[in-house]
Symmetry: C2
Subunit: 907 residues, 2 copies
């Protein structure tokens, strides 16, 4: 198969039959105004997801989702004409499980009758810039599966609905297409882009979201909503709004029906000028609205009645309760052709100096933690399957993968991994991930016990990122289990904090492995760092034994020379860290400050943090550089890797000068990149970027740096005919190529002003209890290859980075008789094929996703179809039946019938 | 009969049988906490009554009563345990008439089952300081009648509920007792009084509200609510509050059930310390709350469940949904004795420098307009009866009395006639009264046409108060109908703006009447003012013919000398106007400024506005004084009156010095008043006041002027053994006696600061479109008599002032054959008996109220029982049956069984 993800379950389920919701009739030749009552419920932002659900901390923001759903359902039951859509299954699920059967029955009926329609339907409305496709697919699956299980086909969303995210990724559109959505609506796009599209009537278009997939497989009809996701001015009847209600008692002083009808007609006619058909959509709702749905519906009922009554007097406006899918159905019936779009909607600017490119990097530690947690969840899922039923309840107690799955799903929200939430909410997301991992550790321990035959206590050193592990620091003899969740073998540098000066490391066969002990002054409390290259089989583990060597260190063996090739092309400035000083909002051009969302340097040239690095070469494989007190870097070349590792440590960023700072690393090379660079979309397909340029309109560039920033999920590169310099990141970051031959990546941000986009806090992360700025560490992997071979390097590099091996430790040597090495696969999959998902689905069924991970044409060897024999895939599981599903696993692949849309000719 | 009001309807109605609402069981020996869900819905304040009903102008204040009732009813229907009380029938009535029959049926059932209970139940919750008993009885009757007609006995409120008014009048308590209420609850009282009562457990007491009525006829059990009318701190679950909801999912981070239960127990136990029984009441609601009742009920349901669950673990707290009548029933069952109170709850101070005594005078023009409108409504009611069916639909079209009745009822609200509403709302009240009067004019014209036999066009010169009447100013010959709504003859000085220099005035018999033409420079555009004394029979009219006399003016005839007796005792300073400068909130003692509610002069001595009055004696009957540019006064002695009239004109009050001003008139006399003075309560019984003293606690006086102010509805006096100086006012005003022998009355206020009690505006009334301060005119009637004869003078004077004759005009002479004089009574009633109400009730029934208007012992001649023969009352109506009702006409008098309460012995 080609560059795509295939999703399967094993075991045959009942046949799903889709029925369409009951849409109200429209009137031909009139302007039909589709009123879509909706609420936008952030799965955490200013408050935590719990607080939003219950309506706690209403002093921060008045919002309580439990009441919204109570109220909307009550109002829908009162009048069958009314409609509502609901989006965020994370909330709906919680509400549902608290309802008595009578209410559940009533809601099922509302769904069956199309009065309550789910749109989008994932666990959350994911961020598009900073999420990894793997986690997005998981969170969509989690939400959609709940809807499928609870409501059947009538609960399946037909429409994707990303009304709030701050820019839109092509890979998201591709995924939505593969999930079977008929169309996609969003609210935010670049202000110049919008102006242009209003003029050309291109606010509704056909998005061809993949270069690799045959049309229309990744085609997605896309609509830009008229007022973001708000109602037209003057027609907000929520309790949070102050617009005049319809006062229709003629005896009263404030009777306003004529005025309301007239203003509504004006709004509708004005909106109709910017769209192609005789149908327009109005989003009647906004953030956390409909907590008291009666206010909305009572006035909407009246609006519909009074506006349509005027038809008897010649009015040409017909207004109706509708839903996005009903609106979409009318657009489809219009049988028009639609402009084709093949790039994406990044970056998003709401005005000339207001580029939402800061959040590509905001909260780098949270972004990393989310990425690490994704790997842990995949490991947990896999081991839950491989270890069998005792994984969930075994010698280490009861564990589950759901807690981490839900925590990861919540973390995909567009104010979660994006870094645009309040600090206390960021803490809550991290706490949830940590808690989820606690639940998963039990599964992992149980599973490894089942697989290895040993129930010896197992320790997870979760603080290895700061070089802390009490067991390895104290123990004279311990064993290390290295679990590899990739479908091919991995080699991984294990780095452990230790206090003895020499160790012996044996592999699973008892063969000694080369290791080094390095003195580390810069991290943790341990004296030394023990380093060795571990290998682990596909979807399996290998066990290493480590013991203190009494007779002092052996001589280190050096396997390879310095990274000469890279040093040559990527010049000495490679390792220079720079920073922008953030705008503080006091400039005469614009009062926009840099903040959680927005990046706005106060000068287009970055400042060098330090010109002279204090450089220390530990061994030939490692160079350490200290650029002043708060920026340092370690450069490593691993013996078996073609990539150079740059491990950066930044912080606490000083703010004594009263200026916020946005720290970048810049890689300067001699590559003739001609203003062109490449960034990936959600960690998957790569898009071409050009400085000061947008593919679909004539850009007026107003921010020479921030206006050229793009999200980097897992990689970015520049190239010329001969060379390609690729950087693989360990989390989402913002980056650009401001100068030819140069790639810059923003590592960390510490800001002193809010940027007035709602979060209401400066992004000023602290470390621990002291008011010290947060220190963040990460690594970039650099690879320099001929362009034709680049993907062969960066595709596996990136997957290894996402799915890092899980290390677990037991005191003492491996228990006698235990199985020290295990692989769940009969054989490694071909390099082009990635095992994206392996998790328990039903009691006797598994969900697996196989991904072809090479984009079209990027690799001569791998960008070709492959065949995988599912029957012969697993070493311990017997496959008795396989059924293919859509990407989100809520529809059989052969029942996925999407609306067909025609592109405009000549595009 | 004695000092009381008797209420009758003619025609026998069905027998009403009262049933008691179903109260939840309580638990003996536990502390029973009665949770009373309620909303407090001002019938106008920051927004107009229409805006409050619909939820318009939510930018001013979020409040929409239509939604409150929608929501509460929906929530009550969901769970039969829940309870709600509703208070303001002005709102409930509007909501009810918009409901479909199915909803009306459901609500009837809620009422029948005691799940929705009406309390108070008048059209509004009236102000107690500035309302006249006549209008209060009317507004209560209007609301209670709707409830009776709609819901029968289960809709009859058992409890009076004045949770917000700013001080409490004894006459209100007396009226409530006579209306059959079992008890009365309120929220605001003097902070010292409250502290004292908390200490002595006297927050629940027995109020003996009349000196004239035999106990327990005017006894009213009175409870002071624990938190004003709000829930205890931390337990407000309205959408307008931020308190934490009950978060009872143990899986969530914010689980707080234990915390909530513990805090609630602490609040309940603390409250129980301040009350006598094992029952306490908690008001769970506040201003315009329950718009989204689900928030409240969902959490209250949980609170009740979780608190009562702890009883299994030994908790002694039992919490239940309840209502004021259920709570009252438990207090009654406690069978205790209660402290007796015989004075009232004025003035109200919420802290040492924060006396709510400014509103006694705030908006003097509105206060006067309300008083005038009351007279017009009574006239309209009477003429609707006397003129028969053609009154409502006759030669002048269709008219009605309901519009003015509802406007008057709304105007009784504690932010209406009180003057504590925003300016735009004050304008709305005035507009409603004017509109109501337009509807009544048609009734009056039709009725007078029927009674007189002439349909000649009839003009009402509504601007006579500013000496403007186009008809009299232009006409050479016109007739004047003087309608008298009193049950005894009246003599009234008619003053008309005219432009000729001499007129002949003939009475109904064609006999010439003495008249004078005075040149008026100070008012209107007319050159002259024509003055004559008109007489009119009881409950009837007389017609005067006026025509220009071509041969110049006759010599004026002087009937009496100057008011020597008054001039003697009330010394030359009688006519001096003074002012206080208002505190601006910048004092070091307190930051309280004078405002709509609060009176706080910045010095205890008033400033003299002008020491030298420019005095002009027009005739012996009239002296005009000009005290500078913005204060003037006319002193008149009418030939047939024993009272001196002081007509004051104040404004625009200058504010160029940056100071607000509160203008008083002070009457200084040689009366040895010894710190004692007297003020009436709601225009009826008179209470003794003593400077710097409160009857029920040791006062710590902190505001020597404002802390001694009391409301004057219609009269105040000082006296010694020989003399009594009585002032009868034409509207509600504040006043005091700060010095012995002196009475001061506040006439007008113009302020530059808000006083932070919610209205959010300075009380700075403007005149017309220019930013000129409002000019206000009024009159005080002074009578000086021996104390024993004072009531004989001031009782009729006050009634004449309340029910002034209505003048109407027709161009030309009286039509030939028309009836020029009419009386609806067979004979005048005795002076002690006032016809308080005569209005249409059913199609063939009338409502009449006969009032004995002399307080016990105040008049040797009149403070005695009288007999009235109802059969022989009317001249044109045949009485075929009479039934007596309670004061509010919602219960037959012989079925009025009130709870009996025992006073504490020795009181």
């Amino acid at each position: 198969f080609r560059f795509t993800v295939l999703t399967f379950v094993i075991a045959v389920g009942e046949v799903l039959t889709a029925t369409s919701g009951s849409c109200h009739a429209t009137v031909p030749n009139m302007l039909n105004v589709h009123l879509v009552p909706h609420t936008h419920d952030d799965v955490g932002w200013l408050k935590t997801v719990d607080q939003y659900f219950y309506g706690g901390r209403n002093d921060i923001q008045h919002a309580g989702v439990q009441y919204i759903l109570d109220s909307v359902v009550g109002q829908l039951l009162q009048n069958p004409e009314r409609r509502f859509i609901y989006v965020e299954t994370a909330f709906f699920y919680r509400w549902w499980k608290n309802q008595p059967p009578s209410m559940q029955k009533a809601v099922r009926q509302l769904v069956d009758q199309g009065r309550l329609e789910f749109v989008n339907g994932g666990w959350c409305m994911s961020d598009e810039a900073t999420t990894h496709y793997s986690a997005v697919i998981d969170q969509m699956t989690l939400g959609l599966r709940f809807l499928n299980d609870t409501f059947g086909p009538c609960g399946r969303p037909r429409v994707a609905w990303h009304i709030d995210p701050f820019g839109h990724a092509r890979e998201h559109a591709s995924m939505f297409a593969q999930m079977g959505y008929d169309g996609f609506f969003f609210g935010r796009l670049d202000y110049q882009d919008r102006t242009n599209r209003i003029r050309t009537l291109e606010q509704e278009l056909l998005w061809r979201a993949s270069e690799s997939l045959e049309p229309p497989y990744a085609d997605l009809f896309t609509g830009i909503l008229p007022n973001g996701y708000n109602p037209p001015k003057g027609f907000c009847w929520d309790q949070s709004c102050d617009d005049a209600p319809i006062m229709d008692d003629p005896d009263l002083e404030d009777y306003n029906v004529d005025d309301v009808v007239q203003r509504f007609a004006a709004a509708a006619n004005s909106q109709a000028m910017a769209y192609k058909t005789k149908h327009i959509i109005m989003t009647m709702g906004s953030d956390f609205q409909y907590e008291n749905a009666n206010l909305w519906y009572k006035n909407l009922d009246k609006l519909i009645r009074y506006v349509n009554t005027r038809q008897a007097n010649g009015s040409q406006i017909n207004v109706l309760y509708s839903t996005p899918s009903c609106y979409l159905q009318e657009l489809h019936r219009a049988n028009l052709t639609w402009t084709l779009k093949t790039d994406d909607f990044f970056p998003y600017a709401d005005d000339a100096h207001n580029f939402w490119t800061g959040y590509f990097t905001s909260r780098p530690a949270l972004k990393r933690y989310e990425r690490v947690s994704n790997g842990r969840l995949q490991t947990c899922n896999q081991l839950e399957v491989l270890g069998g039923p005792s994984s969930r309840k075994g010698p280490f107690g009861a564990g589950d993968s759901e807690t981490l799955r839900e925590a990861m799903a919540v973390a995909q929200h567009h104010d979660a991994v994006s870094g645009t939430e309040k600090q206390h909410v960021a803490n809550d997301y991290a706490r949830r991930l940590a808690n989820g991992w606690q639940h998963c550790q039990v599964v992992v321990s149980n599973s490894l016990a089942a697989l290895s035959g040993s129930s010896a206590g197992r320790i997870y050193c979760d603080n290895l990122n700061v070089s802390a592990c009490p067991l390895t620091e104290a123990s004279k003899k311990f064993s290390v289990n290295v679990y590899n969740s990739l479908a091919r073998p991995v080699v991984w540098p294990v780095r452990l904090p230790v206090n003895a000066s020499a160790y012996t490391v044996l592999d699973a066969t008892g063969t000694p492995v080369d290791s080094t002990q390095q003195v580390r002054k810069d991290r943790g409390y341990a004296v030394n760092e023990l380093v060795f290259q571990a290998q682990a089989p596909p979807l399996g583990y290998s066990t290493y034994s480590v013991s203190v060597l009494q007779n002092g260190p052996p001589s280190a063996s050096v396997k390879s020379g310095p990274p000469a090739a890279i040093q040559n092309k990527v010049r000495s400035t490679l390792s220079v860290c720079l920073r922008y000083n953030a705008s503080d909002g006091k400039s005469s051009i614009s009062d926009q400050a840099s903040g959680a969302y927005i990046f706005r340097p106060n000068s287009s040239s970055p400042f060098i943090i330090s010109c002279t690095a204090e450089t220390e070469s530990i061994q030939l494989q490692e160079v350490r550089q200290q650029f002043g007190p708060w920026v340092s870097q370690v450069i490593r070349l691993h013996s078996n890797s073609k990539a150079l590792e740059m491990e950066w440590t930044v912080g606490p960023v000083p703010i004594a000068d009263g200026l916020g700072k946005e720290v970048i690393t810049r890689l300067d090379s001699s590559i003739a990149s001609s203003g062109v660079f490449y960034t990936d979309s959600n960690g998957r397909e790569v898009l071409r970027r050009k400085k000061d340029f947008r593919p679909t309109w004539d850009l007026r560039q107003t921010e020479p740096v921030a206006g050229n920033y793009y999200p980097i999920n897992s990689r970015a590169y520049i190239k010329d005919d001969k060379d390609q310099l690729t950087v693989v990141t360990d989390r989402s970051q913002g980056g650009s190529s401001i100068h030819d031959g140069s790639l810059e990546i923003m590592l960390h941000r510490r800001l002193l002003h809010d940027d007035w986009r709602g979060v209401g806090e400066p992004l000023n992360e602290m470390s621990g209890v002291f008011p010290l700025g947060l220190v963040v560490r990460g690594r970039l992997l650099l690879s320099l290859t001929p362009p034709a071979l680049a993907a062969d390097a960066h595709r596996p590099l990136a997957q290894e980075n996402v799915l890092q091996p899980l290390l677990s430790f037991t005191e003492g040597g491996p228990p006698p008789g235990s199985l020290l090495e295990f692989s769940g696969l009969q054989a490694a999959l071909p390099p082009a094929v990635h095992l994206l998902t392996l998790s328990q689905w039903g009691q006797d069924s598994l969900l697996i996703r196989l991904e072809h991970q090479f984009q079209t044409k990027e690799s001569k060897e791998h960008s070709v179809p492959f065949t995988v024999n599912l029957q012969k895939l697993f070493s311990t599981l017997k496959v008795v039946g396989v059924s293919e599903l859509n990407l989100s696993a809520n529809q059989w692949i052969d029942e996925m019938k999407r609306l067909d849309w025609r592109p405009k000719m000549g595009m």
